[in-house]
Amino acid sequence: MGQQPFETILEAHHAEIYRYLVRVTFRRTEAEDLAQETFLRAYRAYRTLPPDANLRAWLFTIATNCARNHFRAERRRRRAHEAVRAVRSERDDGARPDGQTLFNEARERLDGVVARLPFKQRLAFVLRKIHELDYEAVAASLGCSAESARAHVFQALKKIRRDLTELPTMEPQR
């Protein structure tokens, strides 16, 4: 009662949650399944969600838990790492405007570095830097304190900086 209907929530957040899951799992089919699981879980718990809750952060938390459960099996994690390449070539398949080429290369290098981050750092980095959640929400997603959420993000940044010896030029210069 007094809650917005669940369809509205699905409409507003499904695409973003799916993209988040693609970014952390690197597999579209797995991201689809995990996004479905996320929203089915959310639906079951939705009635009991306090009216003042941060809905978006809550959905990210559920999605993160789904992703972490999914990756708990070591074998699956390895498979996902192997999949990074596949996804990248999958992206190249789409015809893109020419001006984007340089930018795409840079983005893919960044993508690749992010893919090599330890899972928790990757989650923290994507939540904070790509989806721009505040540290409270990142912490809630990871089940840690805001302080350690921040530490995870900074560790990720340090690692990315080290791995990208030469930073990608994001401004098209030609």
């Binding site: 993209r19 693609v22 970014r23 089915l40 639906y43 079951r44 721009e132 900074f154 900086r161 930073l167």
Partner: protein, 321 residues
């Protein structure tokens, strides 16, 4: 002059924060001071700045493709299925023993007498294969309150949205709808309900439909009695409850005989907008005497919107109670 290593290590996190726009003003100033005098950290600062810009460009870039429409459709179908199956329920105490109330997305779908039992496992709801009961509360609290008021005689209507999905068949649903139309404080016979649903010979089937009424009290199957006035049966073996509910509504039941006192009730023929004494001459000509609706008191008949008959004048000659 070369600085010792320590300050650089100490300031590293602040430096990252400052370069990525997350530092508070104090840390920001400290970092700027340090960087201005330390070339390696200055280089790091610039690299983090560049990284932040790269990430920002990445973030602002057109998002990767969203979920395929098929995935969205599959999710919506799953949700729809769960939604259809999910009912929230609570078990409440009442003067009639524990009562379970269940609410689907369309309305109240079950009211069940549990007696002393308090667990879903032994309830009819818990055994239904077509639903997933979830114990939940807020909306059900209000329903429970209204139900108690009703049982205390402080309320004559339960205007709840109802969901008849748990009735056993379409015929059962039509019987339940007809029964829902019997006003508070009135009774009708099983044969009368059978006529109402257009199956005048289906008296026993009507009785079965009411035996499996998923919404007792709300759909007032206690207001349906035998043509002779005998209470007949209620929810299997709960005739006591039927008697109590009728008493709450002002319908007298002869003690021990377990029948209502037809001869001391006011009468209305379906479709009429007036009520009569049982001896009214106008009733001698009715085709289906079992279709009569009987009222325990004049107040109830008038509350149902009826006027006193102008022939027998029940308002002038009320039945002595």
């Amino acid at each position: 002059m070369k600085r010792p290593r320590n300050p650089c290590a100490e300031i590293e996190l602040d430096l990252i924060a400052a370069a990525t726009g997350e530092a508070d003003p104090v840390a920001e100033r400290r970092v700027q001071q340090h960087v201005s005098g330390c070339a390696p950290c200055g280089g790091d600062y610039q690299r983090y700045r560049a990284l932040e810009q790269a990430v920002e460009t990445w973030r602002r870039a057109p998002a990767p493709a969203g979920p395929p429409a098929a995935a969205r459709r599959r999710l919506e179908e799953r949700l729809e299925e769960i939604r259809r199956r999910t009912v929230a329920y609570r078990i409440f105490p009442s003067p009639l023993g524990n009562i379970l109330i269940a609410l689907s997305e369309r309305g109240v779908s079950m009211v069940e007498y549990l007696g002393r039992r308090r667990d879903l496992a032994h309830s009819r709801l818990g055994r239904m294969p077509s639903v997933d009961p979830v114990e939940d509360g807020a909306e059900l609290e209000a329903l429970h309150r209204e139900l108690l008021e009703y049982l205390e005689g402080k309320r004559t209507r339960l205007d709840w949205p109802l969901d008849l999905a748990l009735a056993r068949s379409e015929f059962h649903r039509s019987v339940l709808r007809a029964t829902a139309g019997i006003p508070h404080g009135a009774v009708m016979s099983y044969a009368g309900v059978a006529c109402e649903v257009g199956r005048p010979s289906a008296t026993r089937a009507v009785a079965q439909a009411l035996r499996w009424n998923p919404l007792p009290i709300v759909i007032p199957c206690h207001r349906v009695v035998g043509s002779s006035g005998a209470l007949t049966g209620y929810a299997g073996d709960k005739l006591d409850l039927k008697e109590r509910l009728l008493a709450v509504e002002g319908v007298a039941v002869a003690p021990r005989a377990r029948r209502i006192c037809r001869e001391s009730m006011y009468v209305r023929y379906p479709g009429d907008d007036s009520y009569c004494l049982p001896s009214c001459p106008s009733l001698a000509t009715v085709d289906h005497p079992h279709r009569l609706v009987l009222f325990g008191t004049r107040q109830r008949a008038e509350a149902a919107g009826l006027a006193p008959c102008t022939t027998c004048r029940p308002d002038v000659h009320p039945i002595a109670s």
